[in-house]
Symmetry: C2
Subunit: 323 residues, 2 copies
């Protein structure tokens, strides 16, 4: 890129910082950590074809790139502070940049998080965001705290469920047919995930472990079980699903909820006595929560139906994740 | 990539953390900032063909990816703490990963900085590192502190100069011919830059402004002058150069030193009375420093020869940067 093009890019991404000591334009940004707080840090890299489709609107791409990072802060109960953005662009396209910056900053403003630095280069489209948050020392939600007897919960839209992002992706790919109106209902789940930042913070002191659903419920639950040294019984019929997903064949319902990916909901455990506290935290944040199983001492994951009977057949893809 | 491939990648990049509260493997890493210190943050994204050649040895690529980020910390006088690594790989190549991790961690260990998190995905080769450091509140070196009368300095190897990285690149491109022995002498400047981390910290309280040389001396100096609201007189014949570069045509010497790029040396200003303190700081760090000009109130950059006369012709590329 020529120098003028870098100036153009800078135009879209340089805004005055409010809380940082020093923002975009020096060698480093300077942040002033709050005494007694730990700094939570996470990086996610998004690549076309793997994390987004070439057809996505630029503002939705800007939203999603930040959303998946905020979701990591949510999963550890941190309050968002700031982020850096590194961007490789095949060409300088003003309409793309304007849209991307618009979606990115709308979500940033909604969560009070500011862009403090970054990098831009010519190259195959690649978006790498590193996000910073704060959490009181010792209060971070972690993957290793699930204990036998804890209830297993998942968050979801108040009037929806999990798996819609995958359903939209499969409809887009043509793996299954969705009516136009139904596709429009589930498409935002794929393109405009809502990170559960408020819920993550509200669950501090209540949840014993948490992770955000990015790779699919069974796979992500596997990380928690492994790091906590426990197992779980998962009531597949208790998984919350949207009205659109409920109209799909059972095999697709199972696939989308259990191995869906891209949900960016919180999967967390909490002591059984904390059930009302969990529901109150969710109500306060305007988010739905469903109890979907129980942590057990016996290692491994057991999928059961509403009668508590083992599922007859594992869903497609399940064998990849359950080990 | 299949899951097994991600496990393979994790093998190379998961090491126990020493200072972080929580490292690789949870949704976020947790860092414990030191009270009274500001957190310095910088992100750099490296793309093949722009920041490294496809022929570079993997261990040198790992070194350079971290070095360019540490150089940003050096330029603000911060002590390195931790970094995240996001990596897009076209394929999983164990030899490449082993080499890359080897070079990366060797430099990380040399600077006491630890990998605390990151991301890996399939995609065109892309390396995005975000680095964190600490600097006492109010003591960070910034780009906006240069004052008229300050001396202008540049760091360099004790027995070398600036511009060798560009010289090696041009020799590689075939733009000029270098003898094999000479190419081998300047190649490390391109592939194994040494970030001036100790010097940056030693210059706290001495330097009035600093920036690291990544895009070329004239361009990078322009950033300092613009943000400080000052101008400068640059003594072109005072620029330190290696014996190999001194044997090249004068036009190439000028091009490589003034618009070279990829030097990763520190360009800084300091009050004239601090000259001995600057030299003492450099000696203590085993680094060379040369006084190359003076900050002036009159905006703009004036290139002069040893007699203080304006340079007859601006070097190639100069017009791009001087505005």
């Amino acid at each position: 890129m020529a120098l003028g093009e870098f100036d153009l890019i800078a135009k879209f991404f340089t805004r005055p910082v409010r809380r940082a000591v020093l923002g975009v334009g020096d060698d480093c940004a300077l942040l002033q950590p709050t005494p007694g707080q730990h700094l939570a840090v996470s990086s996610d890299m998004l690549v076309e074809g793997r994390h987004f489709l070439s057809t996505v609107a630029p503002d939705r791409l800007g939203h999603k790139a930040l959303a998946v990072n905020l979701s990591d802060l949510a999963a550890c109960g941190a309050a968002p502070l700031a982020f850096t953005l590194a961007l490789a662009l095949p060409r300088v396209d003003e309409a793309f940049l304007a849209g991307f910056a618009g979606g990115l900053f709308a979500l940033a403003d909604a969560h009070g998080v500011e862009l403090v630095g970054g990098d831009t280069t010519a190259g195959p489209l690649n978006i790498c965001i590193t996000v910073f948050g704060e959490v009181p020392a010792g209060q971070a939600l972690r993957r290793d705290g699930a204990r036998p007897g804890d209830a297993l919960w998942v968050s979801h839209p108040v009037d929806g469920g999990i798996g819609d992002a995958r359903l939209a992706l499969e409809a887009f790919r043509g793996s299954l047919a969705l009516e136009g109106a139904d596709f429009q209902k589930v498409r935002p789940a794929m393109e405009l995930p809502q990170p559960r930042v408020a819920l993550g913070q509200a669950l501090r002191g209540i949840a014993s472990s948490a992770i955000d659903l990015s790779d699919g419920l069974v796979g992500d639950l596997g990380h928690v079980l492994k790091r906590s040294g426990v197992g779980a019984r998962l009531q597949v019929d208790a998984l919350p699903i949207s009205a659109v997903l409920a109209r799909q064949p059972l095999a697709w319902q199972r696939e989308c909820t259990l191995a869906g990916g891209d949900d960016y909901e919180l999967l967390f455990s909490a002591p059984a006595v904390a059930a009302e506290a969990v529901r109150a935290a969710a109500r306060q944040c305007g988010v739905g929560v469903s109890c979907i199983g129980e942590i057990e001492a016996l290692p491994g994951l057991r999928l059961v139906d509403a009668q508590g009977q083992p599922l007859a057949s594992a869903p497609r893809g399940f064998d990849h994740f359950s080990g």
